[in-house]
Symmetry: C2
Subunit: 231 residues, 2 copies
Amino acid sequence: MPSSTRKAQRRTDALSRERIVEAAIALLDAAGEGGLTFRVLTEQLATGPGAIYWHVANKGELLEAATDAVVASALATEPAGSPQEAIRAVALSLFDVIDEHPWLATQLAVQLSRAPGKSVTPRLLESFGRQVSKLGGPEADWFTVASALMYYVLGAAGQNSVNGATATPTTSRAEFLDAVSTAWERLDPEDYPFTRAVAEQARHHDDRAQFLAGVDLMLSGITLTWTGARP
Amino acid sequence: MPSSTRKAQRRTDALSRERIVEAAIALLDAAGEGGLTFRVLTEQLATGPGAIYWHVANKGELLEAATDAVVASALATEPAGSPQEAIRAVALSLFDVIDEHPWLATQLAVQLSRAPGKSVTPRLLESFGRQVSKLGGPEADWFTVASALMYYVLGAAGQNSVNGATATPTTSRAEFLDAVSTAWERLDPEDYPFTRAVAEQARHHDDRAQFLAGVDLMLSGITLTWTGARP
DNA sequence: ACCTGAACACCGTTCAAGT
DNA sequence: ACCTGAACACCGTTCAAGT
Protein backbone atom coordinates (compact mmCIF):
# COMPACT_ATOMS: atom_id res chain seq x y z
CA MET A 1 0.00 0.00 0.00
CA PRO A 2 1.12 3.61 -0.57
CA SER A 3 2.35 4.66 2.86
CA SER A 4 -0.84 6.76 3.09
CA THR A 5 -0.32 9.65 5.50
CA ARG A 6 2.52 11.77 4.23
CA LYS A 7 5.53 11.91 6.46
CA ALA A 8 8.22 14.49 7.15
CA GLN A 9 6.45 17.34 5.44
CA ARG A 10 8.16 20.74 5.39
CA ARG A 11 10.83 20.68 8.06
CA THR A 12 11.38 24.38 7.57
CA ASP A 13 8.14 25.31 9.30
CA ALA A 14 8.70 26.03 12.95
CA LEU A 15 6.88 23.66 15.26
CA SER A 16 3.88 25.16 17.00
CA ARG A 17 1.14 23.97 19.28
CA GLU A 18 -1.28 24.53 16.43
CA ARG A 19 0.64 22.35 13.99
CA ILE A 20 0.96 19.62 16.60
CA VAL A 21 -2.77 19.61 17.31
CA GLU A 22 -3.48 19.56 13.60
CA ALA A 23 -1.25 16.54 13.11
CA ALA A 24 -2.85 14.83 16.11
CA ILE A 25 -6.32 15.27 14.62
CA ALA A 26 -5.14 13.81 11.33
CA LEU A 27 -3.77 10.75 13.12
CA LEU A 28 -6.92 10.31 15.19
CA ASP A 29 -9.07 10.54 12.08
CA ALA A 30 -6.90 8.06 10.24
CA ALA A 31 -6.56 5.38 12.87
CA GLY A 32 -8.71 6.21 15.90
CA GLU A 33 -7.58 6.83 19.42
CA GLY A 34 -5.03 4.06 19.24
CA GLY A 35 -3.48 5.74 16.22
CA LEU A 36 -2.29 8.76 18.15
CA THR A 37 1.16 7.96 19.42
CA PHE A 38 4.07 10.19 20.29
CA ARG A 39 6.23 7.93 18.16
CA VAL A 40 4.28 8.44 14.95
CA LEU A 41 3.45 12.04 15.81
CA THR A 42 7.16 12.63 16.16
CA GLU A 43 7.79 10.97 12.82
CA GLN A 44 4.99 12.90 11.09
CA LEU A 45 6.34 16.20 12.34
CA ALA A 46 9.97 15.22 11.77
CA THR A 47 11.10 15.99 15.32
CA GLY A 48 11.79 14.31 18.64
CA PRO A 49 9.39 13.80 21.55
CA GLY A 50 11.10 16.56 23.52
CA ALA A 51 10.03 19.13 20.94
CA ILE A 52 6.39 18.16 21.31
CA TYR A 53 6.60 18.24 25.08
CA TRP A 54 7.87 21.76 24.89
CA HIS A 55 4.55 22.86 23.35
CA VAL A 56 2.16 20.45 25.06
CA ALA A 57 2.20 19.23 28.65
CA ASN A 58 1.16 15.62 27.99
CA LYS A 59 -1.03 13.37 25.90
CA GLY A 60 -4.16 14.28 27.83
CA GLU A 61 -3.71 17.95 27.06
CA LEU A 62 -3.13 17.13 23.41
CA LEU A 63 -6.35 15.12 23.24
CA GLU A 64 -8.15 17.95 24.96
CA ALA A 65 -6.85 20.53 22.50
CA ALA A 66 -7.75 18.32 19.54
CA THR A 67 -11.28 17.83 20.86
CA ASP A 68 -11.75 21.50 21.54
CA ALA A 69 -10.49 22.55 18.13
CA VAL A 70 -12.83 20.22 16.27
CA VAL A 71 -15.88 21.05 18.40
CA ALA A 72 -15.21 24.77 18.21
CA SER A 73 -15.17 24.75 14.44
CA ALA A 74 -18.37 22.69 14.34
CA LEU A 75 -20.17 25.20 16.56
CA ALA A 76 -18.62 28.31 15.03
CA THR A 77 -21.67 29.64 13.20
CA GLU A 78 -24.69 30.63 15.26
CA PRO A 79 -27.73 28.87 13.79
CA ALA A 80 -30.63 30.90 12.44
CA GLY A 81 -34.37 30.36 12.69
CA SER A 82 -36.65 29.67 15.63
CA PRO A 83 -35.11 28.39 18.85
CA GLN A 84 -36.45 24.92 18.07
CA GLU A 85 -34.92 24.98 14.61
CA ALA A 86 -31.67 26.29 16.00
CA ILE A 87 -31.55 23.51 18.60
CA ARG A 88 -32.03 20.95 15.87
CA ALA A 89 -29.26 22.59 13.86
CA VAL A 90 -26.81 22.55 16.78
CA ALA A 91 -27.67 18.93 17.46
CA LEU A 92 -27.12 17.98 13.85
CA SER A 93 -23.80 19.81 13.72
CA LEU A 94 -22.62 17.74 16.64
CA PHE A 95 -24.00 14.55 15.14
CA ASP A 96 -22.10 15.23 11.95
CA VAL A 97 -18.84 16.21 13.53
CA ILE A 98 -18.84 13.08 15.69
CA ASP A 99 -19.63 11.07 12.62
CA GLU A 100 -16.64 12.57 10.82
CA HIS A 101 -14.35 12.19 13.83
CA PRO A 102 -15.55 9.09 15.67
CA TRP A 103 -12.86 9.38 18.34
CA LEU A 104 -14.76 12.46 19.53
CA ALA A 105 -17.48 10.34 21.12
CA THR A 106 -15.28 8.78 23.76
CA GLN A 107 -13.22 11.91 24.12
CA LEU A 108 -16.23 14.09 24.84
CA ALA A 109 -17.53 11.63 27.40
CA VAL A 110 -14.19 11.64 29.17
CA GLN A 111 -13.70 15.38 29.10
CA LEU A 112 -17.19 16.45 30.10
CA SER A 113 -17.06 14.29 33.20
CA ARG A 114 -13.45 14.95 34.07
CA ALA A 115 -13.04 18.67 33.49
CA PRO A 116 -16.37 20.42 32.88
CA GLY A 117 -14.80 23.75 33.70
CA LYS A 118 -12.58 23.56 30.65
CA SER A 119 -13.39 24.90 27.26
CA VAL A 120 -15.40 22.14 25.60
CA THR A 121 -18.22 21.88 28.14
CA PRO A 122 -18.98 25.62 28.21
CA ARG A 123 -18.90 25.64 24.44
CA LEU A 124 -21.60 22.97 24.22
CA LEU A 125 -23.68 24.33 27.06
CA GLU A 126 -23.58 27.80 25.55
CA SER A 127 -24.73 26.63 22.13
CA PHE A 128 -27.76 24.82 23.51
CA GLY A 129 -28.41 27.24 26.35
CA ARG A 130 -28.71 30.35 24.20
CA GLN A 131 -31.56 28.75 22.30
CA VAL A 132 -33.14 27.30 25.42
CA SER A 133 -33.27 30.74 26.99
CA LYS A 134 -35.32 31.97 24.04
CA LEU A 135 -37.93 29.29 24.54
CA GLY A 136 -39.80 31.29 27.16
CA GLY A 137 -39.51 28.99 30.14
CA PRO A 138 -38.59 30.06 33.67
CA GLU A 139 -34.91 30.87 34.10
CA ALA A 140 -34.69 28.45 37.01
CA ASP A 141 -35.17 25.59 34.51
CA TRP A 142 -32.65 26.72 31.91
CA PHE A 143 -29.65 24.88 33.22
CA THR A 144 -31.51 21.61 33.64
CA VAL A 145 -33.09 21.78 30.19
CA ALA A 146 -29.93 22.78 28.36
CA SER A 147 -28.01 20.03 30.15
CA ALA A 148 -30.62 17.44 29.26
CA LEU A 149 -30.38 18.35 25.59
CA MET A 150 -26.62 18.19 25.70
CA TYR A 151 -26.66 14.78 27.37
CA TYR A 152 -29.06 13.29 24.87
CA VAL A 153 -27.18 14.62 21.89
CA LEU A 154 -23.80 13.43 23.07
CA GLY A 155 -25.12 10.03 24.04
CA ALA A 156 -26.99 9.48 20.79
CA ALA A 157 -24.39 10.93 18.45
CA GLY A 158 -21.66 8.90 20.09
CA GLN A 159 -23.48 5.62 19.85
CA ASN A 160 -24.54 6.12 16.28
CA SER A 161 -21.09 6.86 14.98
CA VAL A 162 -19.37 3.85 13.51
CA ASN A 163 -16.37 3.75 15.73
CA GLY A 164 -13.34 3.90 13.49
CA ALA A 165 -10.98 2.79 16.22
CA THR A 166 -11.46 -0.97 16.17
CA ALA A 167 -14.47 -1.55 13.96
CA THR A 168 -13.13 -2.93 10.73
CA PRO A 169 -12.91 -0.01 8.32
CA THR A 170 -14.11 -2.14 5.44
CA THR A 171 -17.46 -2.85 7.07
CA SER A 172 -20.13 -0.49 5.81
CA ARG A 173 -22.83 0.90 8.02
CA ALA A 174 -25.38 -1.41 6.40
CA GLU A 175 -23.28 -4.50 7.03
CA PHE A 176 -22.67 -3.35 10.57
CA LEU A 177 -26.38 -2.91 11.27
CA ASP A 178 -27.12 -6.24 9.68
CA ALA A 179 -24.67 -8.00 11.97
CA VAL A 180 -26.12 -6.29 15.05
CA SER A 181 -29.64 -7.11 14.01
CA THR A 182 -28.81 -10.74 13.39
CA ALA A 183 -27.14 -11.00 16.80
CA TRP A 184 -30.29 -9.61 18.41
CA GLU A 185 -32.52 -12.07 16.61
CA ARG A 186 -30.53 -14.90 18.10
CA LEU A 187 -31.06 -13.81 21.69
CA ASP A 188 -33.05 -15.94 24.12
CA PRO A 189 -36.79 -15.33 23.52
CA GLU A 190 -37.45 -15.65 27.26
CA ASP A 191 -35.02 -12.93 28.27
CA TYR A 192 -35.11 -10.62 25.28
CA PRO A 193 -38.61 -10.40 23.81
CA PHE A 194 -38.40 -6.67 23.15
CA THR A 195 -34.95 -6.64 21.62
CA ARG A 196 -35.87 -9.50 19.31
CA ALA A 197 -39.05 -7.70 18.34
CA VAL A 198 -37.24 -4.55 17.25
CA ALA A 199 -34.26 -6.28 15.62
CA GLU A 200 -35.77 -5.90 12.18
CA GLN A 201 -36.42 -2.17 12.73
CA ALA A 202 -32.82 -1.77 13.82
CA ARG A 203 -31.59 -3.39 10.62
CA HIS A 204 -33.18 -0.77 8.40
CA HIS A 205 -33.30 2.29 10.58
CA ASP A 206 -31.84 5.64 9.56
CA ASP A 207 -29.36 6.90 12.16
CA ARG A 208 -29.88 10.50 11.37
CA ALA A 209 -33.67 10.33 11.35
CA GLN A 210 -33.72 8.41 14.61
CA PHE A 211 -31.34 10.91 16.15
CA LEU A 212 -33.57 13.82 15.13
CA ALA A 213 -36.67 12.03 16.37
CA GLY A 214 -35.08 11.89 19.81
CA VAL A 215 -34.30 15.60 19.71
CA ASP A 216 -37.91 16.29 18.78
CA LEU A 217 -39.08 14.12 21.66
CA MET A 218 -37.10 16.30 24.03
CA LEU A 219 -38.34 19.49 22.39
CA SER A 220 -41.93 18.28 22.74
CA GLY A 221 -41.37 17.53 26.40
CA ILE A 222 -39.82 20.94 26.99
CA THR A 223 -42.57 22.83 25.20
CA LEU A 224 -45.28 20.87 26.97
CA THR A 225 -43.70 21.40 30.36
CA TRP A 226 -43.20 25.11 29.83
CA THR A 227 -46.33 26.10 27.97
CA GLY A 228 -48.76 23.28 28.63
CA ALA A 229 -49.44 23.16 24.92
CA ARG A 230 -48.36 21.17 21.92
CA PRO A 231 -45.37 22.68 20.13
CA MET B 1 -0.99 3.63 54.76
CA PRO B 2 -2.31 0.09 55.20
CA SER B 3 -1.66 -1.45 51.79
CA SER B 4 -5.42 -1.20 51.22
CA THR B 5 -6.54 -3.83 48.75
CA ARG B 6 -5.64 -7.22 50.08
CA LYS B 7 -3.12 -9.13 48.05
CA ALA B 8 -2.45 -12.81 47.47
CA GLN B 9 -5.67 -14.00 49.00
CA ARG B 10 -6.35 -17.75 49.10
CA ARG B 11 -4.00 -19.32 46.62
CA THR B 12 -5.79 -22.63 47.04
CA ASP B 13 -8.82 -21.41 45.10
CA ALA B 14 -8.57 -22.38 41.48
CA LEU B 15 -8.44 -19.43 39.11
CA SER B 16 -11.62 -18.86 37.16
CA ARG B 17 -12.93 -16.31 34.73
CA GLU B 18 -15.40 -15.26 37.41
CA ARG B 19 -12.70 -14.60 40.00
CA ILE B 20 -10.63 -12.68 37.48
CA VAL B 21 -13.55 -10.45 36.53
CA GLU B 22 -14.33 -9.89 40.20
CA ALA B 23 -10.76 -8.81 40.89
CA ALA B 24 -10.81 -6.55 37.83
CA ILE B 25 -13.94 -4.79 39.08
CA ALA B 26 -12.32 -4.25 42.46
CA LEU B 27 -9.28 -2.68 40.83
CA LEU B 28 -11.39 -0.47 38.57
CA ASP B 29 -13.43 0.70 41.54
CA ALA B 30 -10.33 1.42 43.56
CA ALA B 31 -8.29 3.29 40.99
CA GLY B 32 -10.31 3.86 37.83
CA GLU B 33 -9.53 2.60 34.37
CA GLY B 34 -5.84 3.29 34.79
CA GLY B 35 -5.84 1.08 37.87
CA LEU B 36 -6.56 -2.09 35.95
CA THR B 37 -3.27 -3.56 34.91
CA PHE B 38 -2.24 -7.11 34.19
CA ARG B 39 0.70 -6.56 36.50
CA VAL B 40 -1.35 -5.72 39.58
CA LEU B 41 -4.13 -8.12 38.59
CA THR B 42 -1.51 -10.83 38.46
CA GLU B 43 -0.23 -9.81 41.87
CA GLN B 44 -3.72 -9.62 43.39
CA LEU B 45 -4.55 -13.09 42.17
CA ALA B 46 -1.11 -14.48 42.94
CA THR B 47 -0.44 -15.84 39.47
CA GLY B 48 1.31 -14.99 36.25
CA PRO B 49 -0.10 -13.21 33.19
CA GLY B 50 -0.29 -16.49 31.29
CA ALA B 51 -2.84 -17.84 33.74
CA ILE B 52 -5.13 -14.88 33.17
CA TYR B 53 -4.78 -15.14 29.40
CA TRP B 54 -5.91 -18.72 29.60
CA HIS B 55 -9.30 -17.57 30.91
CA VAL B 56 -9.63 -14.25 29.09
CA ALA B 57 -8.65 -13.36 25.54
CA ASN B 58 -7.33 -9.85 26.23
CA LYS B 59 -7.85 -6.69 28.21
CA GLY B 60 -10.77 -5.58 26.06
CA GLU B 61 -12.68 -8.76 26.79
CA LEU B 62 -11.94 -8.38 30.48
CA LEU B 63 -13.32 -4.84 30.48
CA GLU B 64 -16.34 -6.06 28.58
CA ALA B 65 -17.00 -8.84 31.07
CA ALA B 66 -16.60 -6.47 34.02
CA THR B 67 -19.02 -3.98 32.48
CA ASP B 68 -21.56 -6.64 31.69
CA ALA B 69 -21.42 -8.17 35.16
CA VAL B 70 -22.00 -4.86 36.91
CA VAL B 71 -24.77 -3.72 34.58
CA ALA B 72 -26.49 -7.11 34.73
CA SER B 73 -26.70 -7.02 38.50
CA ALA B 74 -28.01 -3.46 38.44
CA LEU B 75 -30.80 -4.43 36.05
CA ALA B 76 -31.54 -7.82 37.61
CA THR B 77 -34.89 -7.01 39.22
CA GLU B 78 -37.75 -6.01 36.95
CA PRO B 79 -39.19 -2.75 38.25
CA ALA B 80 -42.83 -2.61 39.39
CA GLY B 81 -45.44 0.09 38.90
CA SER B 82 -46.65 1.93 35.84
CA PRO B 83 -44.46 1.96 32.74
CA GLN B 84 -43.49 5.55 33.52
CA GLU B 85 -42.53 4.66 37.08
CA ALA B 86 -40.64 1.63 35.85
CA ILE B 87 -38.70 3.71 33.34
CA ARG B 88 -37.71 6.12 36.09
CA ALA B 89 -36.66 3.18 38.21
CA VAL B 90 -34.48 1.68 35.47
CA ALA B 91 -32.94 5.07 34.81
CA LEU B 92 -32.16 5.58 38.48
CA SER B 93 -30.64 2.12 38.78
CA LEU B 94 -28.26 3.01 35.98
CA PHE B 95 -27.53 6.41 37.45
CA ASP B 96 -26.64 4.79 40.76
CA VAL B 97 -24.53 2.00 39.35
CA ILE B 98 -22.51 4.46 37.27
CA ASP B 99 -22.12 6.62 40.34
CA GLU B 100 -20.75 3.65 42.28
CA HIS B 101 -18.51 2.52 39.43
CA PRO B 102 -17.48 5.68 37.58
CA TRP B 103 -15.35 3.77 35.08
CA LEU B 104 -18.64 2.43 33.69
CA ALA B 105 -19.43 5.72 32.00
CA THR B 106 -16.56 5.60 29.52
CA GLN B 107 -16.79 1.85 29.22
CA LEU B 108 -20.45 1.91 28.28
CA ALA B 109 -19.84 4.60 25.70
CA VAL B 110 -17.07 2.55 24.15
CA GLN B 111 -18.94 -0.74 24.15
CA LEU B 112 -22.30 0.50 22.92
CA SER B 113 -20.68 2.06 19.88
CA ARG B 114 -18.16 -0.64 19.23
CA ALA B 115 -20.11 -3.85 19.75
CA PRO B 116 -23.85 -3.25 20.09
CA GLY B 117 -24.55 -6.87 19.30
CA LYS B 118 -22.86 -7.98 22.50
CA SER B 119 -24.55 -8.50 25.82
CA VAL B 120 -24.59 -5.05 27.39
CA THR B 121 -26.50 -3.19 24.68
CA PRO B 122 -29.36 -5.71 24.47
CA ARG B 123 -29.56 -5.68 28.25
CA LEU B 124 -30.10 -1.93 28.36
CA LEU B 125 -32.39 -1.84 25.37
CA GLU B 126 -34.51 -4.64 26.80
CA SER B 127 -34.93 -2.93 30.17
CA PHE B 128 -36.17 0.30 28.63
CA GLY B 129 -37.96 -1.30 25.72
CA ARG B 130 -40.22 -3.55 27.77
CA GLN B 131 -41.64 -0.53 29.53
CA VAL B 132 -41.81 1.51 26.35
CA SER B 133 -43.89 -1.19 24.70
CA LYS B 134 -46.47 -0.87 27.50
CA LEU B 135 -46.88 2.83 26.87
CA GLY B 136 -49.40 2.29 24.10
CA GLY B 137 -47.60 3.89 21.19
CA PRO B 138 -47.28 2.40 17.70
CA GLU B 139 -44.82 -0.47 17.48
CA ALA B 140 -43.00 1.27 14.65
CA ASP B 141 -41.82 3.89 17.17
CA TRP B 142 -40.66 1.55 19.92
CA PHE B 143 -37.08 1.19 18.83
CA THR B 144 -36.57 4.90 18.37
CA VAL B 145 -38.14 5.80 21.71
CA ALA B 146 -36.35 3.12 23.71
CA SER B 147 -33.05 4.13 22.11
CA ALA B 148 -33.62 7.78 22.89
CA LEU B 149 -34.23 7.00 26.55
CA MET B 150 -31.13 4.86 26.66
CA TYR B 151 -29.00 7.58 25.09
CA TYR B 152 -30.17 10.26 27.46
CA VAL B 153 -29.68 8.12 30.53
CA LEU B 154 -26.19 7.01 29.58
CA GLY B 155 -25.13 10.51 28.61
CA ALA B 156 -26.48 12.13 31.73
CA ALA B 157 -25.46 9.46 34.21
CA GLY B 158 -21.96 9.41 32.80
CA GLN B 159 -21.44 13.13 32.97
CA ASN B 160 -22.82 13.45 36.46
CA SER B 161 -20.61 10.81 37.94
CA VAL B 162 -17.52 12.20 39.58
CA ASN B 163 -14.91 10.44 37.55
CA GLY B 164 -12.75 8.50 39.97
CA ALA B 165 -10.03 7.95 37.42
CA THR B 166 -8.16 11.22 37.55
CA ALA B 167 -10.37 13.52 39.60
CA THR B 168 -8.67 13.86 42.93
CA PRO B 169 -10.45 11.49 45.29
CA THR B 170 -10.30 13.97 48.14
CA THR B 171 -12.38 16.52 46.29
CA SER B 172 -16.00 16.28 47.33
CA ARG B 173 -18.85 16.76 44.91
CA ALA B 174 -19.58 20.17 46.42
CA GLU B 175 -16.01 21.36 45.99
CA PHE B 176 -15.99 20.00 42.47
CA LEU B 177 -19.16 21.86 41.53
CA ASP B 178 -17.85 24.99 43.13
CA ALA B 179 -14.69 24.87 41.05
CA VAL B 180 -16.68 24.32 37.85
CA SER B 181 -19.06 27.12 38.69
CA THR B 182 -16.24 29.51 39.43
CA ALA B 183 -14.54 28.65 36.14
CA TRP B 184 -17.77 29.39 34.30
CA GLU B 185 -18.19 32.73 36.01
CA ARG B 186 -14.80 33.78 34.72
CA LEU B 187 -15.66 33.15 31.06
CA ASP B 188 -15.80 35.98 28.55
CA PRO B 189 -19.18 37.78 28.89
CA GLU B 190 -19.27 38.34 25.14
CA ASP B 191 -18.90 34.70 24.22
CA TYR B 192 -20.56 32.96 27.15
CA PRO B 193 -23.58 34.92 28.38
CA PHE B 194 -25.69 31.84 29.00
CA THR B 195 -23.07 29.76 30.73
CA ARG B 196 -22.22 32.65 33.05
CA ALA B 197 -25.91 33.17 33.78
CA VAL B 198 -26.42 29.59 34.91
CA ALA B 199 -23.13 29.21 36.75
CA GLU B 200 -24.77 29.87 40.08
CA GLN B 201 -27.49 27.29 39.42
CA ALA B 202 -24.80 24.79 38.55
CA ARG B 203 -23.07 25.40 41.87
CA HIS B 204 -26.05 24.31 43.92
CA HIS B 205 -27.85 21.88 41.66
CA ASP B 206 -28.77 18.37 42.72
CA ASP B 207 -27.38 15.81 40.26
CA ARG B 208 -30.02 13.25 40.95
CA ALA B 209 -32.94 15.68 40.73
CA GLN B 210 -31.60 17.15 37.51
CA PHE B 211 -31.11 13.71 36.06
CA LEU B 212 -34.70 12.74 36.88
CA ALA B 213 -36.02 16.02 35.48
CA GLY B 214 -34.44 15.10 32.16
CA VAL B 215 -36.06 11.66 32.24
CA ASP B 216 -39.42 13.31 32.90
CA LEU B 217 -38.86 15.68 30.01
CA MET B 218 -38.42 12.69 27.73
CA LEU B 219 -41.44 10.93 29.22
CA SER B 220 -43.55 14.04 28.65
CA GLY B 221 -42.42 14.23 25.07
CA ILE B 222 -43.20 10.57 24.50
CA THR B 223 -46.64 10.74 26.05
CA LEU B 224 -47.50 13.90 24.17
CA THR B 225 -46.34 12.45 20.88
CA TRP B 226 -48.22 9.21 21.34
CA THR B 227 -51.43 10.35 22.98
CA GLY B 228 -51.61 14.06 22.26
CA ALA B 229 -52.32 14.62 25.95
CA ARG B 230 -50.42 15.61 29.03
CA PRO B 231 -49.08 12.62 30.94
C1' DA C 1 -6.40 -28.77 31.14
C1' DC C 2 -4.33 -25.31 33.59
C1' DC C 3 -0.53 -22.54 35.16
C1' DT C 4 4.48 -20.28 35.41
C1' DG C 5 7.49 -16.57 34.36
C1' DA C 6 10.89 -14.80 31.28
C1' DA C 7 10.85 -12.20 27.18
C1' DC C 8 9.13 -8.98 23.33
C1' DA C 9 7.45 -4.97 21.27
C1' DC C 10 5.57 -0.76 22.32
C1' DC C 11 4.15 3.17 24.94
C1' DG C 12 4.30 8.06 27.51
C1' DT C 13 7.57 10.86 29.55
C1' DT C 14 12.11 12.83 31.15
C1' DC C 15 16.31 15.20 30.71
C1' DA C 16 21.06 16.33 29.77
C1' DA C 17 22.82 18.30 25.93
C1' DG C 18 22.80 21.14 22.01
C1' DT C 19 21.65 25.58 19.08
C1' DA D 1 13.65 30.03 23.53
C1' DC D 2 13.34 25.97 21.16
C1' DC D 3 14.79 21.44 19.76
C1' DT D 4 17.44 16.63 19.79
C1' DG D 5 17.51 11.88 20.93
C1' DA D 6 18.95 8.46 24.17
C1' DA D 7 17.09 6.51 28.21
C1' DC D 8 13.55 5.06 31.88
C1' DA D 9 9.65 2.91 33.74
C1' DC D 10 5.70 0.69 32.47
C1' DC D 11 2.38 -1.65 29.67
C1' DG D 12 -0.32 -5.70 27.03
C1' DT D 13 0.73 -9.96 25.17
C1' DT D 14 3.25 -14.32 23.83
C1' DC D 15 5.13 -18.72 24.46
C1' DA D 16 8.17 -22.50 25.68
C1' DA D 17 8.13 -25.02 29.57
C1' DG D 18 6.16 -27.18 33.45
C1' DT D 19 2.36 -29.97 36.18
